[in-house]
Subunit: 347 residues, 2 copies
């Protein structure tokens, strides 16, 4: 465990991003050794087997735990809504924060199914960012404060972390940030968001293109991209992903916005997201491409496009199932089950 | 509720397959009406929204329940193992039944995560079928008895049913049955099963081709295909799918063998599997094609190839999540959340 860094400057933050802890390969090897003794054909639990190994290697423990599963939903507002990028009024961000707190949103129900603790964190008191078609979304100070909020929101004793967001206008920020980091223009990354029609998507793409033109001089610096084209809740998610890495907390990313929030870290270090898994592929247009750019293979693909960490929460039972099989199954010896006549398996 | 039919002849069974109950469209409509009032963009929960509607329309109730979730695993042995189609000895079927009963298998752990009751049913006392490269796998009497076993295993008060199987050699039966129903030969449908190498898969494909040649005169009759090329546990699964339809029980199919077991029903009535959902797409070679032939879109795609209803059990939390969102979320009016400015949504 490392003391939480104070991100006073972009240089501090960059340094934290460039010296990340590594996984525990010994724990992963011991988990693989036990996995091979369990009463099933080798590899027959598919991605579940990999999930157990992932849990153990980042928890640095060959006997991973899933007692403290936490869901953090970061909320933020966006100046770019002035450009008509959402059919919903910006007030909905605060109204949905209230709905989260009174238990009426989808994520409240999904947290119960996941047996996870839910916390909702309005970032920057829901003050909107600047309209990034006019200037940078955040000052350096605002950006660093949002990253720090996210970092400080992750309790170090968390066994599995789910990250998500709420913010009217934030698919526009995620699309602009993705384009800045991975190339392409507004039409490549703009989707329907919460329900735009075709004309609305075309406007959103044009808004993104104007922002890309304004900020194109900064595309080589991933943190500058996040400051100029992201948002408070996106910066907080990036901070939380970073904290999870330092605290040894396996982390489930949610949909398009959450994934875009984490993307600058991967640009700084190709191994920066190794402690994360992508919970699902969203129906939002840019998410499949973004997942490919990040080499993340989603666990679920159910046409969700809600955010709120909904996909991450839905993936928690899969992780619990993986661990339950690994820890609860009998070995061939214990169950007196005959083994295969094949000494080894090709695949 | 209908009294369980006694399948004395193939004609009795065929009649039961041709006059299937329909879903409750009123329940589905009322569920859609409530769904539209919940605090989220319309459609943003993707396939979860459809799952709730599916539950209600087959339970014939706009307020579906998930109290009695049951998992049935049918076990059977196969004469075709004499042709060297599996690297595992046939004894493993009985050994794994014992492992299920003592709680040591994957499905025991997954049943707990799914909060479901597990029952394991050895069909025909685990007597092997005939080797179907030589003669029909089952006599008419044996086949009907196995179907009846499956039918009688489904308690009518089940809210959600998960079906699965265990049987050394049964990917060969599933592949042969799939080929007979949907065309193609051994190489199109034979996969690695529990761990065959390349030479083993080639032998399995040749074994299937010999069986297809022997039984080709019966391919126009789906029930005859199931009798000649299936197995006891496959016939039982078909019977259970049929019982679920008559009792109004939404049903999750598991992998390749389970899906192939249900396929003859679809050949007799294109709507016969409307009360089922495919829980996952298996890594076993033929499953993706079979799912397409049956117009079933899997909920999960995690590279599983274990059987035992493992994929079906893994999908149960998704169904629970769907229902929890539908029944637990606040409406826009209740939560005082503003709605979208768009009167309607295109997609």
């Amino acid at each position: 465990m490392t003391a939480a860094p104070a991100f006073r400057t972009l240089t501090d933050l960059r340094a934290a991003c460039l010296h990340l802890p590594a996984p525990d390969e010994t724990a992963a090897r011991r988990i693989a050794e036990r996995e091979a003794t369990l009463t099933k054909p080798p590899g027959s639990l598919g991605r579940l087997e990999e999930l157990t190994s992932w849990l153990g290697s980042w928890q640095q423990d060959q006997t991973p735990r899933l007692e403290q599963v936490r869901i953090l939903v970061f909320a933020g507002n966006h100046g770019v809504v002035a450009q008509g990028v959402s059919p919903w009024p910006a007030d909905v961000t605060a109204q949905m924060v209230a709905n989260f707190r009174s238990g009426g949103a989808a994520i409240n129900q999904l947290s119960r199914i996941a047996d996870a603790e839910l916390r909702v964190i309005p970032v920057a008191d829901l003050r909107p960012t600047n309209d990034f078609t006019q200037t940078a979304a955040m000052t350096e100070e605002e950006f660093l404060a949002a990253v720090q909020t996210g970092y400080d929101s992750v309790p170090p004793d968390t066994d599995l972390l789910c990250l998500g967001e709420m913010g009217i206008g934030n698919t526009t920020a995620a699309a602009a940030l993705s384009a800045a980091l991975f190339g392409g223009g507004g039409t490549d990354w703009a989707g329907r968001g919460t329900g735009l029609d075709t004309a609305g998507v075309a406007n959103k793409a044009a808004v993104i293109d104007r922002a890309l033109t304004l900020h194109s001089g900064s595309f080589s610096d991933p943190l500058e991209c996040a400051r100029r084209l992201g948002g408070h809740e996106l910066a907080a998610i990036m901070g939380a992903v970073l904290a999870a890495r330092y605290h040894g907390v396996p982390t489930l990313l949610d949909g398009f916005i959450c994934t875009a929030s984490a993307a600058p870290l991967l640009k700084l270090d190709p191994a920066a997201l190794d402690h994360t898994r992508l919970s699902h592929c969203s129906a939002e247009a840019g998410h499949r491409r973004l997942a490919q750019e990040l080499y993340l293979t989603p666990l679920l693909d159910l046409g969700l496009r809600l955010g709120e960490a909904s996909g991450a929460a839905l993936a928690v039972p899969l992780v619990r199932a993986a661990l339950a099989c690994h820890q609860g199954m009998a070995t061939f010896a214990e169950a007196a089950v005959s083994q295969s006549s094949e000494a080894s398996f090709e695949a």
